[in-house]
């Protein structure tokens, strides 16, 4: 057996075939939209590798939970109970305000805002690809996840779904360079677009005129324009404002309110007309809470 002679095409031809096919694949993928479904199909094939890579962390988590001391659990329980009571107090006021707001909107003949449906998803892995900020979550087509869906966590907007597999899907973070989200400055209602900078802790408002009233510390929330992100979820806080008259626009940097480096539990949002079976609406959540409270 002589191992220096290859069967089939020669080494040069092989390289040329691979290069041509790869370039074709790149071009086709950037032009044809249908490739997405094929890609999702292939992704389900490699998801076992993702699960394998996710396993050591899962095992650590599991053993940490398993061996957490009773004392620590009690402390955590205490903390969570306090938090729940506080939040419930706030919620009662919010329910009243919402009711009032709906009534006022009806009086004005403005459309009443609908609740969103939510499912809790868990982070599977963060991509280490330095060129794009993407995460993989553990909900997919089985849970009626769809491309373009908004993903938030308890602190603010995280990003949107770009690719749906069978049991997991991929989300693009708002800090990615290819992502931009329509936003509104809370204090002045100034509308703008916050584009990702490729830095996990920075967004940039685009095309802000020098006359615009934007200050450090202003809260930025989603404006609901573009119909991808629902209105009113926090995006970030204005970090620095540089107003250099020699530049065409003001430079406004925003630090995202969600910590993209420490994601764990996420919420997927569905508008009312796309409600999946196992999602909860805000009203249903309230009912569940009430029944829990009565049970105590």
């Amino acid at each position: 057996m002589n191992e220096f002679f290859l069967r089939g095409p020669s080494l040069y031809n092989r390289l040329i075939i691979v290069l041509v096919v790869s370039m074709l694949a790149i071009v086709v993928e950037s032009k044809v939209d249908q490739v997405k479904t094929f890609r999702a199909f292939l992704t389900s094939f490699v998801s076992p590798v993702q699960y394998l890579a996710d396993m050591p962390g899962e095992v650590l988590n599991w053993s940490a939970n398993r061996f957490a001391s009773r004392q620590k659990m009690l402390e955590e329980n205490d903390r969570l109970t306090t938090q729940l009571t506080l939040l419930n107090g706030e919620l009662q006021r919010l329910a009243l305000l919402k009711f009032e707001n709906d009534n006022l909107r009806q009086l004005l003949a403005a459309p009443v805002k609908n609740d969103m449906y939510k499912i809790v998803a868990e982070l599977m892995s963060i991509d280490n690809n330095p060129y794009s900020h993407q995460i993989v979550i553990d909900k997919g087509a089985l849970n009626a996840v769809y491309p373009g869906q908004a993903v938030i966590d308890s602190t603010g907007i995280i990003g949107q779904i770009v690719e749906v597999g069978t049991a997991n899907s991929r989300a693009l973070l708002i800090t990615d360079t290819s992502h931009a989200i329509p936003v509104r400055v809370g204090r002045t209602n100034f509308m703008s677009i916050a584009a990702g900078t490729g830095d996990y802790f920075e967004l940039q408002l685009q095309h802000v005129p020098h006359s615009a009233d934007v200050r450090e510390g202003d809260l930025i929330s989603s404006s609901g324009l573009g119909n991808v992100f629902p209105k009113g979820y926090p995006v970030g806080v204005v970090k620095t404002v540089i107003s250099d008259e020699s530049q065409p626009f003001k430079q406004v940097l925003v630090s995202p309110s969600a910590n993209m480096g420490r994601l764990k539990f996420l919420l997927l949002l569905w508008p009312v007309d796309k409600k999946p079976e196992d999602a909860f609406s805000a009203d249903e959540l309230r009912n569940i809470q009430r029944s829990l409270n009565e049970g105590e």
């Binding site: 220096f4 080494l11 790869s22 490699v46 993702q50 890579a53 770009v162």
Partner: protein
């Protein structure tokens, strides 16, 4: 004696897992190119088994795992593995220091290919941090070389 080839695929699978395993944010930029060095070793030791085709398939899997456009990593892996295949006899007879320099160049080529192809698809800023994995890769090479040679001899991979 039957040649045992499953070891090759097993090591490649381990490399794929190591390539995407979650790491703390600061350390993440220094993640070695696991798949590249494993393929380099096999491409050098058994050019008949691991060639440009295997590298391209690994690249497609990496593209799927990373969410990059299909083809980016297959180009970036096929080119270094082609170089290794073409020079496998020279590489085998080189000293460790010379091999490390070769791996350094291959890793640089790999990262440049990824950058260049991605730049072609979407505009990107060039950063030197791109080459940090090269440092850990060359530190890792002697150990990987030793480990894989041991595995190859132990299991009689041919």
């Amino acid at each position: 004696m039957r040649a045992n080839r499953s070891i090759i695929y097993l090591t490649i699978l381990v490399a794929l897992v190591l390539q995407i395993i979650p790491m703390p944010q600061g350390v993440d930029a220094y993640r070695p190119d696991w798949v590249l060095i494993i393929l380099c070793y096999w491409g050098m030791a058994l050019p008949k088994r691991v060639s440009v085709g295997v590298a391209a398939i690994c690249g497609i899997i990496l593209d799927l795992l990373y969410g990059t456009s299909l083809g980016v990593h297959s180009i970036a892996l096929a080119i270094p593995i082609f170089i290794v295949n073409a020079n496998c006899q020279k590489l085998r007879n080189q000293s460790m220091a010379q091999q490390i320099i070769a791996i350094l160049l291959l890793s640089v080529v790999h990262h440049l290919c990824i950058y260049w192809v991605q730049y072609w698809v979407m505009s990107l800023e060039f950063r030197w941090s791109l080459f940090w994995p090269t440092l850990t890769t060359i530190i890792l090479w002697p150990w990987i070389f030793w480990l894989l040679r041991k595995l190859r001899r132990q299991f009689n991979v041919a």
